[in-house]
Structure formats: C-alpha cells, structure tokens
C-alpha cells in the first residue's frame, strides 16, 4: 500500500506535480515533508484526508488520499 498526495491550483503549479505517491507517513504534516523534500508547509494551505478537511496533525494510514490546496475561490 502507498499514500497518495495530491496538490491543486496554484500549489499544484508551484510543486510542478498534481500527485505524488509516498510509502508511509504518520501525520499529514509528515506526508507533506516527504512529498515536498522537507519544504516548510505554507501556513495558509488547506489539507484533507480522503476528501475531508483535517489539520496538519491528523493521523494518516496506508491507502489514504491526502490533498493540499490553497484557500478555495469557487462560487
């Protein structure tokens, strides 16, 4: 099993990828660090596990889909 890390919008463009697979992580913050070569997590970024909002300390398990994205601007 692996963990899928997704990026959207301006963050996707900055990272240069829409999806990265990592082999393990204990928290969302750790998943960010693994996927982004230990770059600091930008403060305004939103996070989700399996399409539900979470904070950076939320626990991650194998098979999870994690997403990072900027403030939303729909509607």
């Amino acid at each position: 099993m692996t963990i899928t890390v997704k990026f959207f919008a301006s963050l996707r463009e900055q990272i240069g990828q829409s999806e990265i697979e990592i082999d393990s992580a204990e928290t969302v913050a750790q998943a960010w660090a693994k996927a982004c070569n230990n770059a600091p997590l930008p403060s305004h970024i939103l996070m989700a596990i399996n399409q539900e909002y979470v904070d950076k300390n939320a626990a991650v398990k194998n098979g999870d889909e994690i997403a990072f994205f900027p403030p939303v601007t729909g509607g």
Binding site: K6, F8, A9, S10, A48, Q51, E52, Y53, A67, F69, P70, P71, V72, T73, G74, G75
Partner: protein, 146 residues
C-alpha cells in the same frame, strides 16, 4: 436534493424549470423558492478579465456540496435544495453557480440559500484562475470576498 458539477455552459433558469418539473411531490407544499445565481464578470479587483478557468477537486467537491445540503435540510424547515457548479473554461456573462432552496415559507428559504452559497464559497474545493485582458497574463484568485 441534487448536486451537479458541469463543464458545460448552462442557463440557470432552464435548469430550474427542468428540475422543478420533477418536484411533483412539492406541488402545493412549496410556498417559497429562494435562488442565487453567480455569473462571471468581465472585471475583478480593478482589472479587466477575459476568461477564467475553474479547477476543482473531483470527489471532494461533490462530497462537500452534499454535506452542506444535508446540513441545510436539517437546520432549516425547507423542502429541497439544488446546486449546479460550473468547472473548466468560462467566459464573462456565463453562469458559475446556481443555488436554489424550496420551502413552505420564505424566511427559511432565504436563510438556507444564503448559507449554502457562503459555505460553498468559503469551503468547497474550487479555484479560479483568471486570464486578464490585453495580454496581462494569468493569475489565481487568492481569496473570495464577502
């Protein structure tokens, strides 16, 4: 209740007419419909805008719109909700979003409609990228206004 994400242009009044045709159970029960339609403007933040691209998080978007619709149906005495949101390439004058709420009375219809559009704007995973006029480039909208 219905939630739709579409990459095709839609006329909100056509969509409402088609949707209401299937609301036969509400005939005579619904006394109030409050709707909100968001349309693309040709300006934003002092700049002229030529086109827009709406990105979303497929799956999470639907889940989130479902969740706020459920919340509205629990919190207010309303009968039904309907949301359509556009994604992909959009031009000025085209509809971005439609929110409609049916109720017995007007106060819950208005309140739930306002709730849905505010929640959608501040929480549903959509992002706007604007193409400015006169070759002034492309930019991501950084945040929604009140």
């Amino acid at each position: 209740m219905s939630i739709e994400i579409t990459s095709k242009e839609f006329n909100p009044w056509n969509s409402l007419q088609a949707y209401e045709k299937n609301l036969v159970a509400l005939h005579g029960k619904s006394g109030a419909v409050a709707t909100f339609v968001g349309t693309m403007r040709d300006y934003n933040d002092g700049d002229s805008v030529q086109a827009m691209f709406l990105e979303h998080y497929p799956g999470m978007t639907e889940k989130y719109l479902q969740k706020i619709s459920d919340t509205a149906l629990k919190r207010w005495d309303i009968l039904d909700t309907f949301i359509i949101h556009r994604v992909g390439e959009i031009l000025p004058g085209e509809t971005i979003v439609l929110v409609a709420v049916w109720a017995g009375h007007r106060a819950p219809a208005f309140e739930a409609c306002r709730f849905l559009i505010e929640e959608l704007k501040f929480q549903a995973p959509f992002w706007k990228r604007e193409t400015l006029s006169n070759d002034n480039g492309v930019r991501w909208v950084e945040k929604n206004t009140n």
